[in-house]
């Protein structure tokens, strides 16, 4: 079967990571758009949440799909991580990373800002996973009798949770900083003409997400009433 052969190949597995990552990124975009309604006030957010929950069938399918995507992304990622470790059974005594900026980016005078991001993908991924679990238990499975907007605002107003929220989005920003570039490369979408644009997007987009999502707890903790 060509598809099995494809998925078990190294590039196939990377493709799986890239495609699931891309879809998760799209979900993140829509999710952030939803969260952003909080800036318009709790009422707007509450009505967004209620709108969403009124399409139960759609939501359930969406949730199952999302769960599947996460499972694929995480399990493939862990499997790749395991395989990659196996590829060098005897580690080096000294190992230095030299790709502080890629040659392509260098040619355009752009420094890759976070080589750390590339090297910590499995770890940032796992951090994000643990955050998602906390997040789901806090918000989605929060008290049923309280409006969800109130739960969210209450939780995010607590400095500890607010900080965790901001920290997690920073980690997420790092993860997708490398993720965006990596998925384009894996899908073969690379051309010198767009190198600069892609390099910029991999920084601008995660920071934009971070500002939108991180701004909420920041405002709340600072005492702004939403």
């Amino acid at each position: 079967m060509w598809f099995v052969r494809f998925l078990t190949s190294s590039i196939g597995k990377k493709w799986l990571m890239a495609v699931s990552g891309l879809l998760l990124l799209l979900f993140l975009g829509s999710h952030i758009a939803g969260i952003a309604t909080l800036y318009l006030g709790s009422t707007a957010f509450q009505s967004y949440a209620e709108q969403l929950h009124s399409h139960m069938l759609f939501l359930s399918l969406f949730r199952i799909g999302l769960l599947l995507l996460f499972m694929i992304h995480i399990s493939t990622g862990l499997f790749l991580f395991y395989q990659n470790r196996k590829a060098r059974p005897n580690p080096y005594r000294i190992s230095v990373r030299v790709a502080t900026h890629s040659l392509a980016a260098h040619a355009h005078g752009i420094r890759e800002s976070l080589p750390l991001a590339a090297r910590t993908m499995p770890y940032t991924g796992l951090l994000i996973l643990s955050f998602i679990i906390i997040h789901i238990f806090g918000f989605s499975f929060g008290p049923q009798d309280v409006p969800v907007a109130k739960t969210v605002v209450t939780l995010l107003r607590s400095p500890a949770y607010g900080l965790l929220y901001i920290f997690s989005f920073t980690v997420l920003a790092m993860h997708i900083h490398h993720g965006i570039w990596s998925l384009l490369q894996t899908l073969g979408l690379s051309h010198p003409r767009f190198t600069v644009f892609i390099a910029r997007m991999t920084t601008i987009l995660p920071i934009f997400f971070l500002i939108v999502a991180g701004g909420i707890p920041l405002l709340l903790v600072c005492g702004v009433d939403l």
């Binding site: 597995k13 790749l80 395989q83 190992s95």
Partner: protein
């Protein structure tokens, strides 16, 4: 002539089955005009006269084109100078008193044969899987019947400059051979002569690469950074593209 003294920590391993370990040597009066391999020659001359076994290391052309030499020098494949093979690395880039840790290129697919000598035949097997154009001797058309735009030829040449030294694999955190494989697939997919076997080639070469036990690419660009011929990871992207289209749109 300026000279320096160095402390060398070199991986010594009798053969593939024997366990290996680092040995420390001090080497004095190294001319800064020497190449790294000439420095090792000097060490070996001294060791030989002292009745010890010299350090085995691979080398041949000593002008940076054959791809035979290579070792990790303080954690960097081919040492600290970019776009330079070990044989073209000169000792003036080091300071007297430095300690150099010299290790063989490591990967599951590159077993150590002795000291710094490794077996890179896995790379040959990737090429054997399809890294060529199937044309019998004598069956070629007149050369100028195949017109190739100069920029395409130049791009193919960029990829074709690969010397097969294995530094990309050695420096990849995952021990992946994507840059090596990508360069060859990319070169042949760019040229009109490579079109008939284009899909089959991408499938076969990637399969051979996976079979050898190389790791997977995580786009960390270390390969490109150490490549003595500055081969761009664009060629990995092109390989990915070739492989995807061959998988989804092949027969």
């Amino acid at each position: 002539m300026q000279t320096i003294d160095l402390t060398l920590q070199i991986w010594r391993q009798k053969n593939s089955d024997a366990p290996g370990d680092f040995e420390t040597y001090t080497l004095k009066n190294i001319s800064t005009a020497m190449s790294f391999l000439e420095m090792l020659d000097l060490l070996n001359e001294n060791l030989t006269l002292q009745g010890q076994e010299p350090v085995a290391f691979d080398h041949d052309c000593r002008e940076g084109i054959c791809g035979m030499c290579g070792a990790m020098v303080n954690g960097i494949a081919h040492g600290p100078q970019s776009e330079t093979t070990l044989c073209q690395l000169h000792m003036r880039h080091f300071n007297s008193g430095d300690t150099l840790v010299i290790e063989p290129f490591r990967s599951r697919a590159f077993p150590v044969k002795r000291d710094l000598v490794i077996d890179r035949s896995a790379l040959d097997r990737i090429i054997q899987a399809g890294g060529y154009i199937s044309i019998n001797t004598g069956g070629a058309p007149e050369a100028n019947t195949i017109a190739i735009p100069s920029p395409t030829a130049e791009l193919a040449m960029d990829a074709a400059a690969c010397i097969g030294c294995g530094a990309c694999v050695a420096s990849c955190p995952n021990g992946a051979a994507m840059l090596f494989t990508g360069a060859r697939i990319s070169q042949l997919s760019l040229l009109p002569q490579g079109q008939p076997e284009r899909k089959e080639r991408a499938l076969a070469m990637v399969m051979a690469m996976d079979k050898e036990g190389f790791g997977n690419c995580s786009n960390e660009r270390e390969c490109e950074a150490v490549c003595p011929k500055a081969i761009s990871i664009r060629h990995i992207a092109r390989m990915n593209r070739e492989y995807l289209s061959a998988s989804f749109l092949g027969e």
